[in-house]
Every structure is written in C-alpha cells, then in structure tokens.
C-alpha cells in the first residue's frame, strides 16, 4: 500500500489547474477528495507523473440556484450534498443516493465531482446524474463547455473529459414535485452496489405520468432503462409498474464478479426498478 512516486501541485484557481493539466499531457491525475484515486495509487494500479490537487480551489465548492437549475460545485463533498437545503429541496434523489455512498468518513472526504469524473459504473452517483439529466460543466484551455450526463460516461472508468479538462460544476434541472427513490442493493453497508436503481417519477392521477430510471453497475457505464421508462409512462397501478419494470434490464450487459452473475444482476435490475418506481410514485 505504498504509492509510486509522483510530482504534486496544488493550484489555487481553475485556470491554474487547467494549465497544470495541459502541461502534463496524458500523465496527470486530478486529486479531489482522494477516495478513488488514493486507493488506485496505493494499490499501484495508477502511475501518474503529476497529481493536481484541486482541494484548495474555493470556486469549485458550494451549491447555488441558477433559474431552473441547481449548480453544485465539483468539489462539494458528499456530506455537504446530503445536508444542503437546496439539494434536498430541488434534487432530493441526489441527496438520498449520496447518503448511501460508503461510510461517513468517505462522505466527508469524497466529492460529487470526483465521483462523477471517476466514471465508475458501480458508483452510485453516475446513474443518479443520468436519471436527473444533469449537465457537467468542464473547463479546458479553450474555455468552458457543458456535457450532458448521457454523453459524459463513455466507458468503464472513462469519461468525456479530455486530459487537460477539469470538471468544475454539475447543473441539475430542478425536479420539484417529482417523486424519487434510490434503491441500492449491496451485500454489506460499506460495499459498492451490486445493482442500484435511481428512479424519478412525475405522478398524475395516482399513477406514473413520466419516469426516469438510472441503473448502477449494469454495464461498463451507468445506464438509463429507456424501454422501462417508456412503458412506465401511464402505468396507473402497481401491476402496471411491475410489468413495465420487467423491461428494466433490456439491452444491458452487466459484468460478472464475486458478488453476482450477469443473469442475477439483470434479475435484480427488474426487481429493484419495480421497487424504486413504486416507492418514488408513492404506490409501494
């Protein structure tokens, strides 16, 4: 558990951070809360030449409103997200899911931006960002650009971030009045989800008018259960929700590991989608 040697820099502004990243080419890694990067370093699974510690850049922190969107700084810790009144009011799904991340120690160090940029399909927050139709704002040498969540997660541990880009903030459309639920299935409290389902539901007439379903750990990237979402629209009782949830694993290619086979993951995705949507819709 001894990391390899690396150069270290701690910029104090986004511009400075971007310059440091640009100067290092492909060989730099961004250090935020360190909850993903430090284990990779200590297990000698990552060998960056430069570690750019963005932990002292104040502009990356905090939560604010911007019209119909909530803007969360990339460096905002999980603990801050869970307890932030704006997040709780306008993006309850994110607050609820973030409260299930690892343990209190990790939640005090780990950050929303770090979790998304790490692009681990087993992480809870990428699927939540997908379900929320979040947008990720990144800064690079040429200025800022905005990437929709559905384009951000490219492959296993790969995001659309260029090596010289830094994730600065996450924009989440307010979903006031929508029901939500994150159903996390994990073998022990501190472990990653075997499967997780993030459900957002707009209710009408006691049923589901519209639903967004994000899937954790059902493939190389977080996924949206698009077929199930389509079939959930207009589901007016729990039986209809259950029928729609049967499509939740459609098109997924989940991995095999010590906790689950692909078949079991697909089964769980169906069961957990039904449960998450029923709970989100207040029909459970």
């Amino acid at each position: 558990m001894i990391p390899p040697a690396f150069e270290y820099t701690r910029p104090t502004s986004v511009d400075e951070a971007v310059r440091a990243l640009a100067g290092a080419g492909e060989e730099a890694k961004v250090l935020a809360g360190g909850q993903s990067l430090l284990p990779l370093l200590r297990l000698r699974l990552a060998f960056p030449e430069l570690v750019v510690d963005v932990g002292r850049i104040p502009e990356l922190r905090g939560v604010r409103e911007d019209g119909d969107a909530l803007v969360i700084g990339a460096l905002t810790t999980h603990h801050e997200v869970v307890h932030d009144p704006l997040v709780r009011a306008h993006a309850g799904l994110l607050a609820q899911a973030t409260a299930t991340v690892a343990d209190p120690a990790v939640r005090h160090r780990g950050t929303l931006g770090g979790s998304l940029a790490h692009a681990d399909p087993a992480g809870d927050l990428p699927a939540v960002a997908l379900a929320l139709d979040a947008e990720l704002v990144v800064a690079g040498p040429g200025g800022r650009r905005t990437i929709p969540a559905r384009e951000f997660f490219v492959d296993y541990l790969q995001s659309a971030l260029a090596p010289d880009e830094l994730l600065t903030e996450v924009r989440i459309p307010k979903r006031d009045g929508w029901g939500f639920h994150y159903e996390k299935f994990h073998p022990v409290a501190q472990s990653w989800a075997i499967v997780g389902v993030a459900a957002l539901v707009r209710r009408a007439d006691g049923g589901v008018a519209e639903a967004r379903v994000g899937l954790t750990n059902m493939g190389a990237t977080p996924l949206r259960a698009t077929t199930a979402e389509r079939e959930l629209a207009g589901a007016d009782d729990s039986a209809a929700v259950a029928r729609a949830a049967e499509a939740a694993a459609e098109g997924t290619r989940p991995s095999q590991d010590l906790s689950a086979s692909p078949e079991y993951r697909q089964h769980l995705a169906r069961v957990l989608t039904r449960r998450a949507v029923l709970t989100a819709a207040g029909m459970g």
Binding site: P187, W192, Q256
Partner: protein, 828 residues
Amino acid sequence: MTDQAVEGEVGRSRLRKEDARLITGQTNWTDNIQVAGLLHLAVLRSPMAHARITRVDVSPALERPGVVAAFSGADLAEGLGSLPCAWPVTEDIVQPDHPPIAVEEVRYAGDPVAVVVARDRYAAADALEAIEVDYDPLPPVLDLEAALAQDAPLVHADKGTNRCYTWPLATGESFDAVRERAEVTLKRRYHQQRLIPNAMEPRAVVVTPLAASGEYTVYSATQIPHILRIMLATVTGIPEHKLRVIAPDVGGGFGSKLQVYGEEVLALAVARRLGRPVKWTESRSEGYLATHHGRGMIQDIEIAATREGRLLGLKVDLLADMGAYLMLVTPGIPILGAFMYPAIYKMDAYAFTCTGVFTTRTPTDAYRGAGRPEATFAIERTMDELAVELGLDPVEVRRRNWIRHEEFPYTTVAGLTYDSGNYEAATEKALALFGYDDLRAEQRRRNERGDTVRLGIGVSTFTEMCGLAPSRVLRDLRYGAGGWEAASIRMLPTGKVEVVTGTSPHGQSHETCWSQIAADVLGVPFDDIEVVHGDTKAAPQGMDTYGSRSLAVGGEAVHRAATTVVEKARRVAAHLLEASEQDLDFRDGVFSVKGSPEARKTIQEIAFETFTNHDLPDGVEPTINAEHVVDPENFSYPHGTHLCAVEVDTETGKTTIRSYVSVDDVGRVVNPMIVEGQVHGGLAQGIAQALYEEAVYDAEGNLVSGTMADYLVPSAADLPEFTTDRTETPAASNALGVKGVGEAGTIASTPAVVNAVVDALRPLGVRDVRMPCSPHRVWQAIQEARSGGAPAAGGTGGTGPAQSGQSGQAAQSGELGQYGQPGEEGPA
C-alpha cells in the same frame, strides 16, 4: 448485570485500564517504533500459485535510490532453517521443508522470493519493482479431492503425495454396528470456506541488533512472544539467551498472530547480516496473501438415530486444506475439533477421520475457534436436518439428546469429561428472551401467506473445549509443547503490586482482569496493581495467548500466586503481631488478631517490613513474592444456546438478521462488560462466516478476494442489536470457576445463522446453502429448487472478480469452486 451486588473486584464491570493509552494514541504499536538508523524491509512475492524459480536478479534494485541491500532466497538460505511446525499430528505425517523465503519453487501466490532493504518504506517498495524473477509455471493444486488422486500434480514433488496425514479416532461402539440398528440415517456434506483473519493491526516486526554482544531484540505484533523466542532461536541459530522478544501493544490476532512467520525470521536474518535495525510492516492486501488463513474444509457427516430422535452414532470424515506448507499448528487445527463433533449430545458410537491435504494456497492455521467452529457447525446443522427428517422441533431434538445437568461430570463418547454445565437452563432462558413460540407462529402465518420475505429460525446449542490445555493431553496429541501458564506477583516496598503474567494479550483486557483477580485476593486497590506482560525479559516464563486459555490457565496462575503471597505475608504478620498464624484474620488487605482487632498490619506494611528485613522470623526469606505455574487438569467447557431469526427476501436473496439471542455459560465472570464485548465480537465474526466472508481463488490459484473491497467484512451497520445474556455454572476445573469466552460467540453463531437461512427457505424446497449465504447464492438456491434442480445449491463457482471492483482486479471468469466444482453435490 449491575455492580451493586458485587462486593469485590471480580464480577465488576471495571472500565479497561488499557483504553486510556490506546484511544489517545499514546500506545506503542510495533510499526510506531523508531530507532536510529532504522532500515525498512520490503518483500517481493510470487504472483503465481505454483512455479519453479529459474532466475532471480536483485542487482537492478540496488541501483535504486535509498536501497541498502537486496537479497534473493538463495542469498539468505544459508544459516536459516525451516519454519517450524510444532504439531505433527501423526507419526507418518508428511512435513515438507518450509524455507522462510522461497529458493527453488514458489507454492502459493504470495510466497516470498526476494527482499529489499532501504532507508525508507517508499524506497523499499519502489525498488521491489526492479527485481527480475523468471518463473517456470507448474500446475496449481486447488481441489481437495482431486489433489488426492493418483495422478494429481503435486505441491511438494519430493514427497510423492499431497496427503499430509490421516488422523483417525473411533470411540464407543462401532459406527457400522449402530448404523445397522438405526431407524434413521442422514448424510450431509458441508463446506467450510477459507477465511482471512483481519486483525485490525497488520503484522509488523522490528529487530534491533547489538553487534558487540550478539544480542537481538525482536519487537513483533505477535500473540506468542515466548514461543516465538524459542522458535527464532531454532530457525536462525541465534542462542535463545541472546534473543529478547517483545510484543508491544498488539491490535488483535484472532489466531493469525499465533504464528512464527517468515518475515520475522527474515527481519532477524537481515539485521544480523547488516548489523543494522530493520523494520517490516505488512500492508492489508499483502497480509491477505501472506498471513495465514483460517478454516478451509470439506465435512462429510453421517448420523444414525432412532425414530424418536435419539442419537445412536456419528461419523465424520474431513478433508482439511493445509495450504502450501505446515505452519506452527496447521495440522492440529482440525484435531482441536475432533473431540467436539459429539458436542453436548449423548450417543453410543463415534468415528472420525481427518485427512490433511496440501494445496497451492496460503497456508491455513488457527482462526478464532480453530477446529471447534467447524465441528459445531456440522453437528448443529445436522441436528436441524434430523429434526426436519423426524418432523420434530429442532429444540426438542436437542433436548432428547443433550446431557442433563444432573449427569455432570459426564464423559462423552469422544472421551472428554465435561466438568459442569446446564444446557436446560441456558436454553430455557434463550427461548424466553427470543420469544420462540411467537416467532414460530409468525413464521407459519407468513409461509401460509406465501410471503416474499420469509422468516427463518436457527438454533445452536453449542459447547467447546478451551483453556488449552493439560500438558499430558497435549503430549498424547503429539503437540510440541505444554499447556501450563505462569504468573508471579511482586509486592513492592511501597505497597504497590506488579503482576507478571506469561499470557500475551492483544485486545483481551488482561491488564484489567488480572488486576481484578489480584486485588480481591491481596486486598489492595485495583489501581495499585500493574500487569507486566509481553516481554521475555520482564515476563520470562509463559505459553502466551490463544484458544481461550488466558483466564482459565493464566488467570488461575495469578489467583494462586496471589494466594501464596497472602500465606507468606501471614507468617510475617503473625511474627510482628506476636500471634499464631491460625489466630489471624485476613480481610480487605489487613491482618488482625482474632478478638483484638486493634492489633493489625496491612499487607502493604508487611511488604515494607519484608523489604527492610529488620524483624522477620528466623529462617524466613525476606520476600513475600510468589510465583505459580498452573497446568490444568482438564479443559474448560463453556456452552450456551444461541437463537437467530432471519428474514430472507426471496426475490433478491438478501438475508437480514432480525433478532439474535445468545445465552452463554462461561462460568464465573471476572468482568461482565468485557465478557459482553467478547461475545459481541465473536458473534460478528461467526455471522461474517455465515453470510459475508470468503477467500476466493481463481482456477490459476490467484486470490481474487484480495482487498477489503472484495472480502466483505461486516460492520456494525450490517449487524442486528444482539440480546446477550448468561447463565453461570462455575467450572470445576479451576479455583476461579472460569471457563473462557474468547471464541464462544464465533463458535456458536455460524450454525445458528445458516440454520435460520435454511429454515426460511425449506418451504421453497431448499435444503442447504453453502457459506457464505450471500444474496447471489441464496437466489441461486431458490432458482434451483424451483426448477427442481440440485437442492444443495449455490456453488462457489462461476463468478469472477469484479470488472467494477474498485480494487481494479482484471476481469476473469470461470474459476473453480473453492473446494470442488461449481454446484457440486454432497453424497446425501
């Protein structure tokens, strides 16, 4: 349990003396030790399970910054003997050579092949990557049954076999004879998965040499400083009197530090060669490979009974995974269980064999319970199976067979004499606390409704043998040492007291408990007592701490030594008070003359008078210090009844423990709070085996559960609120009446939980679930039962390491079930 009723120190929930320094960071873990000129050792380990080493070149490492030396196995081989195995269980046991560092062949992934010595830990770790090693792969040996086939590849080619030993025991009537007359027979196969001990403090060792005198001080995170000293002398040739071994504060062991490790030898060898102090500290993932594992066994059980549910006989055939080498007590671990399969039950015949098998995996050895959890699991699972077979309540089947309290002392079919116990009382108390009848009623209702979430109830009425051990019994079992324990008490001139113990605590609270015992006997304040331990210079005689032995043997030695101090002091007091010894009362540390209470001397005054030696009786040595070495006449036999209720979500396979009740009888209790802590920790560890933990290897013999992301140690968040209670039947085998509690919770809980899981699923046609009963395995078992497939479902095989496992393991698939093919079926 309140303290109000307690008069003395024993029985009082004293806060631990140890905690102030532990929780304020003022303690001295081995890794904290700094000495001038300290060098750091790092170990390069084999990435392959089995291979011939064709070349090792350490010279590139020497070019790296900060590196002082680097050695291959061949460089260090001279002057180092084989690592010791102190328990050759049979005369014809196969004992392979076990070099502290591999020279010609590696036999498990993690076997050391080279070391680097550098000025800091980082330089040492970096330089390891420069060492060049060529391997010529050999076939791994992983399946216990296949390993015994004629043409199987061999772990130790020079031995011609993978069979380490076969150890038989047959007592009572012939099993075949009772099987003939039995109305019911059942056969079951159980798998004890491999477990990783996970002490909170990783292993660490520091060696400081004193070149001028040839003396070495070895600091080690060990459970056994005394045994380690003897063994290090033997392996390195350094004379025993030139070796001092210190176990500083040690952060847990669970048996994993009851060992003489290659790294301890290597640190000493390198310090000797360089004449410089050397430190080695393992990382967590290194420890997963290189610290011994626990359990690892296939158990074939056959039971014979009458229709009324009376047991006639029991037959047990074990295959035990030794791993690649025999370590300190590796072969003896299953034998510690051999006598416990009959448990608390009366029967006429018992037949047992155990065959130890070499595999190309990390060696196994003691892990909390060591042999007894395996035995208890098998018999308690089988008692539940018998209850189902006969249509009886599982508690009732046990009641029809257990030894009644009026039958003690009772010699079991296996030949042990249980000194005391009251299974009826513990069971009645547990049933009441649990609300057994109400839970059964709820279970029936839910089964009738066809609930998605089923309720299951598991029973475990366990006993164990601990307090290791009568030395002559150990001799008969071919164990290499005795089972005595030493204590001495020094009465200091100022009236303070030092209790020197040969036990070596690593979390058990000996400082607190030994103080309580001595305070009561001597009548001195608890805070006036210091307990000295874990240093072969300061506490030179001891057999150390393991097997729940410390209190029943070491605590008893303290008690006897203190009693002797009082007797010696009485003689001095009688002289000073001009009375006869018989006319003296001794109470609360004060000698007084019967009938004239103003004539008195405190034991502290006697200590000072003895120090000055101005007025002692003629012929009396000027000391009231005393020491005792206790060799127990018998083991102690804690017992208890554990009841577990689980809810199993049949859609997802997830098991949640709804309630857990334990009623333990550990004899007389010195400190109820510490006993409760031991029970809680033990339950957590036993539940972990039932539901969560498994060391998994792939088909090439790589450990794929190699980090805590994949090896699932439960936390408080995963465990229920435990209801713990006790009955108190004093042990007859020691004056304190104590039995030991370190392993009880672990031994009892695993079968209680698995019995509950299977009980929940029986209405769905499931008859067994292999441990750990993970959600995936439970789900598979339900699927297979529904499709009319194999009932003993949930094979370990078929699932590979995580693509998304944040340990970053590469995706693999298709590895073997740990002890057989996936979905393999028992012989039942």
